[in-house]
């Protein structure tokens, strides 16, 4: 049963939960990329075409003979590139929250492959919303402190959904491990309205 959904330009967030009356029901949160299969492949093909042209033009400067050979090599290499990159095209990432049991994090790729990881509940210390700063940008991410692990574990490894979408998931995770949210002082009115 779809409880709520949010949509932005790039992502759609869907929250599925069991019956409202039954406690202990499984909670599922999906974040889906708003691009069709064809758009993803089209982008890769475009990039591959660009690489072929680049390769041919560079080679024709360096080696003036046999353009057919350079063209065929460029096509082959770009083909490899398309195949490898297409495996990384993500369709959807999900978080399945099973009360008293644990969390399952799933990544579903366009090629149909699904990678999942189960984290038992006693391993989860705390879910946190972190601002990640890179040399060119800054974005929010939802991470988990896990017992025995030094590094934070990202809940959404490939996608970067907005804070509006991450907050309900973070709240659900807090409820799962029993963190008192009133301890955490956050000015949320801007998140809701913005």
């Amino acid at each position: 049963m779809v409880s709520s959904s949010l949509s932005s330009k790039r992502y759609t967030y869907i929250h599925e939960s069991g019956s409202e009356t039954r406690r202990g029901a499984i909670d599922i949160h999906h974040v889906i990329i708003n691009r069709s299969r064809s758009t993803g492949y089209a982008r890769l093909m475009g990039l591959a075409f660009f690489l072929v042209i680049l390769g041919v033009s560079m080679y024709s400067f360096i080696e003036k003979d046999n353009p057919v050979r350079t063209l065929s090599w460029s096509c082959l290499l770009s083909g490899f590139f398309v195949v490898i990159q297409s495996r990384k095209l993500v369709k959807k990432e999900s978080v399945i929250i099973m009360p008293t049991f644990g969390i399952q994090i799933e990544t579903q790729y366009l090629s149909g492959k699904t990678v999942s990881r189960f984290i038992p509940i006693d391993k989860v210390l705390k879910p946190v919303l972190v601002e990640c700063v890179t040399p060119v940008t800054c974005y929010w991410s939802l991470s988990l402190f896990l017992r025995g692990e030094e590094q934070l574990t990202l809940v959404f490894k490939e996608l970067r959904p907005s804070l509006k979408m991450l907050v309900p998931i973070w709240k659900a995770l807090c409820t799962l491990i029993g963190t008192d949210q009133s301890e955490i002082i956050t000015e949320e009115k801007h998140v809701v309205s913005g």
């Binding site: 330009k9 790039r10 990640c132 700063v133 060119v136 929010w140 804070l163 002082i185 000015e187 913005g194």
Partner: protein, 429 residues
């Protein structure tokens, strides 16, 4: 929580955990502005492992952007490389005024350039004095001229600094405000029991032992004063290349029991060293604003100083030329007026004259003035750059045009609406 009145972004390569005058200035000013109800965000480069977003006291948000520093804590100048992250931060935090610090900071110049391109109000504070003659200074002054050609307002920390900045950059003096630095009088308090000045008079020197801070003058002055006054002893804190000369001086005149060398003194211990003394000696050859003499005066010490930027009232300081004989004369005068000094009264006067709250209020006025400046379009701004020099003006115009085009390209690739605004986090005290 009420909506903040102003949202200020402080940009500089120099911020904590690096320690110095500029860093202190940015921190204290930010804290006082936060107390006045504004929102302040600081942007600096990453220091080692310290990268990402950190929150400091009072909810001061600091962005440690992971750009590598390349020399003297400065970010590598890529001119346009910082445009995406600066744009993201300005949009995320809904900034209204960008305040850059220190002419030597490449991140500051780049951020101010990008902020002007995007139409934000910019204010610049210059903290140091620079020369005009050597190659490094000439290039630095040209860069400064470029940045300041298009600025809304500028702040300097002393009249000396204002003269220096105006001459170096060709900026209109009417746009430059003078707001002196302040001192944390809560931290720099006189000792509860003042050391007696009947038997031994202690003269304290705390500075880096480099040429610019007048370490060579000390080498001449100390033996002469020790010869004239058998009851005077010196305490020298700080380290640097001239340390060796001072040690040699001690050996030559057998002053080991009268001149104590403490080595580098961490800032947290400066007060405890100052309160052991009666007189503070500053021999800097040049200084935009000497905070050290303010700290000493706040601790109730009488100051003997060369004529550097940063003024104390006449009865708290004895000024001298940077010449050994004149400095010895000044120390003699200081020793003679020492009995009439009341440290508590000095401290109370310093509290009123030099407070960070006062600096913040004055800076607020500068921000309001900057916000009232009209927004110029690209063509008007380009005409200002053309007056910077025959070929320099044209180079500056090209740089700004490319920056503008890159900004528009970024807006196409990542529209403004896509940049999510960060919520203001309210830390309950």
């Amino acid at each position: 929580m009420a909506e903040p009145k102003l949202r200020v972004l402080m940009v500089s390569d120099f911020f904590f955990p690096n320690f110095g005058g500029v860093e202190n200035h940015i921190y204290y000013l930010s804290q006082c502005l936060l107390n006045l109800g504004h929102k302040v965000v600081v942007m600096t480069h990453a220091y080692g492992n310290r990268s990402g977003v950190r929150y400091m006291t009072g909810g001061l948000k600091v962005y440690y952007v992971p750009w590598r520093p390349f020399t003297m804590q400065n970010t590598f100048p890529t001119v346009y490389g910082t445009l995406p992250i600066v744009r993201t931060i300005l949009k995320r935090e809904r900034i209204t005024v960008v305040h850059g610090h220190q002419a030597f900071s490449t991140l500051c110049h780049e951020a101010l350039m990008h902020a002007r391109t995007m139409g934000y109000r910019v204010v610049f504070t210059d903290h140091s004095l620079y020369g005009f003659a050597d190659v490094g200074s000439i290039h630095m002054n040209k860069v400064l001229q470029f940045t300041l050609a298009d600025i809304d307002q500028a702040i300097c920390v002393s009249h000396t600094s204002k003269e220096n900045t105006v001459l170096r950059s060709g900026l209109a003096p009417g746009k430059v405000f003078m707001i002196p630095n302040a001192v944390d009088t809560a931290m720099f308090k006189p000792a509860d029991v003042r050391p007696s000045s009947d038997d031994v008079i202690t003269i304290v020197v705390i500075s880096r032992l480099v040429y610019r801070k007048g370490a060579d003058l000390l080498v001449e002055v100390i033996p002469e004063v020790c010869r004239l006054y058998p009851n005077v002893r010196f305490v020298v804190g700080g380290d640097g290349p001239k340390h060796v000369r001072l040690e040699e001086m001690r050996e030559k005149h057998s002053l080991q029991d009268r001149v104590e060398m403490l080595g580098a003194v961490p800032h947290s211990r400066v007060r405890s060293v100052l309160v052991t003394g009666h007189i503070f000696l500053n021999s800097s050859l040049t200084e935009a604003f000497c905070i050290a003499i303010l700290e000493a005066a706040s601790c109730g010490l009488l100051t003997v100083s060369t004529r550097v930027g940063g003024v104390l009232p006449d009865d708290m300081v004895v000024l001298a030329e940077p010449d050994p004989d004149d400095m010895v004369r000044a120390i003699e005068k200081a020793i003679s007026i020492l009995p009439s000094i009341n440290p508590e009264e000095m401290h109370n006067r310093m509290k009123k004259l030099y407070s960070w709250q006062d600096v913040a209020k004055r800076t607020e006025i500068v921000y309001d003035r900057a916000l009232k400046c009209s927004n110029r379009n690209l063509l008007e701004r380009l005409s200002r750059f053309l007056s910077c020099g025959a070929w320099a003006g044209k180079v500056f115009c090209m740089v700004m045009i490319i920056d503008y085009l890159l900004w528009r390209l970024l807006q196409l690739l990542q529209p403004d609406d896509d940049i999510e605004e960060a919520p203001d986090i309210n830390f309950c005290n």
